[in-house]
Symmetry: C2
Subunit: 362 residues, 2 copies
């Protein structure tokens, strides 16, 4: 089992399908919301409709089509894309590299799930080639910035949740209502040009260092298929403010790996994330901001405490000082032609992979 996505066969319109092993179940005969080029209408229909669809699939409905015969599309129209920074280990690693003389965690980090808005219009489906971005960067010791292809192109391994049922403008969504609004999860590769990001990001945050592309899996795994993966959140100290205190086990134990040119370079697990998805949703809406069908909220890079469990090359390689070893050479950052695959599994449920190959700059 994997999840829902959008596919098409040559000469046919895109439609909704459910991945089952090496087949896609064509659901387009099950209703108008499935004979559509995105999951948005189905996701907006809410939890009862989601469960009903899963029950019909379980009962054998849907026409099997070999996966090898179809083209996979981006599964939903992305409304807003928010990226959090919810791994304590990642935030600590980044703080040590970027602010070596200061406390690695900024004072706000343990009080709220830090996050920002990314570019929804460049969220692409797994398999889409990613062109190396060009941009401004200021090399160490240089007086002025230079322009050119990024020399420090990186990945970020993330898990994202997708909103189905919208909320109302001006009304916060309590974290307890997480599963009334959220349809499912995707794997996310938040491609990052570290040199562009390093020069641009003060004081308003990342912009062009991230906005060239964000890849998501072709399959959205519904929350209800992940019930057995739900585990207690790691302890939080200090205790967060009341709006961030949410009952229930909502951390997801998903085994994750990063493959670079065929070699696994990182293995980690999302169960260790400091901030949970319901906390992220509660925080993002506590000011009255509404969510819409197709909102994508990603975890931020998932890094564990051990060597080899970091979710980005900049962490895995100690800011490039200790390249990872591959069969075809060593990598501090990504080279043209490199292919990255992110994978995730929770028990019997395999999430859709996120695959992307780097093309040379224009």
């Amino acid at each position: 089992m994997t999840g829902f996505g959008v596919f098409c066969r040559p000469g046919e319109e895109p439609r909704v399908g459910f991945r089952a092993g090496d087949d896609v179940l064509d659901l387009s005969a099950l209703g108008d919301e499935f004979a559509a080029p995105s999951l948005n209408a189905f996701m907006a229909a809410g939890p009862i409709a989601w469960e009903h669809a899963l029950a019909r699939i379980e009962a054998g409905e849907g026409r099997a089509v070999p996966l090898a015969e179809v083209e996979l599309k981006r599964p939903f129209e992305v409304a807003d894309y928010v990226d959090f920074y919810s791994s304590l280990e990642h935030a600590t690693n980044m703080g040590r590299m970027f602010r070596p003389d200061a406390e690695p965690l900024l004072p706000n980090w343990r009080h709220l799930p830090v996050g920002y808005h990314g570019r929804a219009g460049t969220v692409v489906v797994s398999g889409t080639p990613v062109r190396r971005p060009r941009g401004q960067a200021r090399p160490p010791d240089a007086e002025a910035p230079v322009f050119g292809p990024s020399k420090r192109l990186d990945i970020e391994l993330e898990l994202g949740f997708v909103v189905g049922v919208p909320s109302r403008f001006g009304e916060p969504v309590h974290g307890e209502r997480f599963d009334e609004h959220v349809f499912g999860v995707v794997l996310v590769n938040d491609w990052s040009a570290r040199d562009i990001q390093g020069w641009e990001y003060q004081p308003l945050g990342p912009f062009l260092g991230k906005s060239f592309a964000t890849s998501i899996s072709a399959w959205v795994t519904p929350l209800s298929l992940l019930r057995e993966a739900r585990v207690p959140r790691p302890p939080q100290d200090p205790e967060p403010l009341p709006y961030l205190r949410i009952d229930g086990d909502w951390s997801l134990a998903v085994e994750l790996e990063v493959e670079l040119n065929g070699a696994v370079v990182s293995r980690t697990n999302s169960r260790g994330l400091y901030w949970s998805m319901p906390q992220q949703l509660a925080h993002a809406t506590v000011n009255g901001a509404c969510v819409r069908t197709g909102d994508l909220m990603a975890s931020g890079t998932i890094s564990g405490p051990e060597r080899g469990s970091e979710g980005s090359l900049i962490e895995l390689t100690g800011n490039g000082a200790e390249p990872v070893e591959l069969r075809d050479g060593r990598r501090a950052f990504l080279e043209d032609g490199d292919e990255v695959v992110l994978r995730g599994r929770a028990g019997d449920v395999e999430l859709g992979e996120v695959r992307g190959r780097i093309e040379a700059a224009a």
Copy 2:
């Protein structure tokens, strides 16, 4: 003359109109793209279609409806919302307040138009009430953050441009092609909760301090109506990198004012903005990020060099130390019930106003 918008009369479907004085010209009979609830299809049709529509309006087509009889809708579906930081005076003022012991401008500011992504899903049309956001803030000298309604609710006076014709993923848009892609401009009030923003914004930029609401005018003024307002850009030192060198006069001389509870508290002009709109577009896409129909890119707060020409209360009041005087009292920041109106005029062309009243927190 003002521009294109979307309106409806009781019992009728929303449709495209053109504001002409105290009337709206109902354009729905002119084609399918006008019998639509947003400008998106018309904006996507490109410059020839835009000119053709203006010529038909000039020739007397469209049925006049009194403005007083219609409800105005958000004129377009916002794809991505980017907010820049393009006023030298504003960036300097903010730097002095937030980093009093350092150079007010960060090293990157004169090399690139600093910007970030805002929340597209909470962009609302002029007239929409704005509920005071609640959130975390850490008062000066406090050990821990507190939660509650924002105590430092502010405005930001901005001018934004709206993309009509999309670009291709992976391909930068040269600044010379600005008017092949950009349909027109709106006034923008980028409401800002300074206390929430101040606590949350490091290291990834503003999030909840801005995302509760952004108001835009109900009318999008096409670029072609603003030809006479185009003036040379202020000098830039150092000379920007080649991709940001763009010929042609693209600064817009728009006289702007901020009215608070009936009193004008600021008068300024967008002609002084350091970074021009074509430079903003070239920068936002130089990494290969595509633009989509409905992308909104705003200038950032427009402040002039004189006292009383600042585009935010935090600047007008010296971080609250010198409140502005109104007929009904003094204001450091916005109180519940306050109404703000932004206005803009370029010669004979009046931009649509942006009006918003503050409602008490939930």
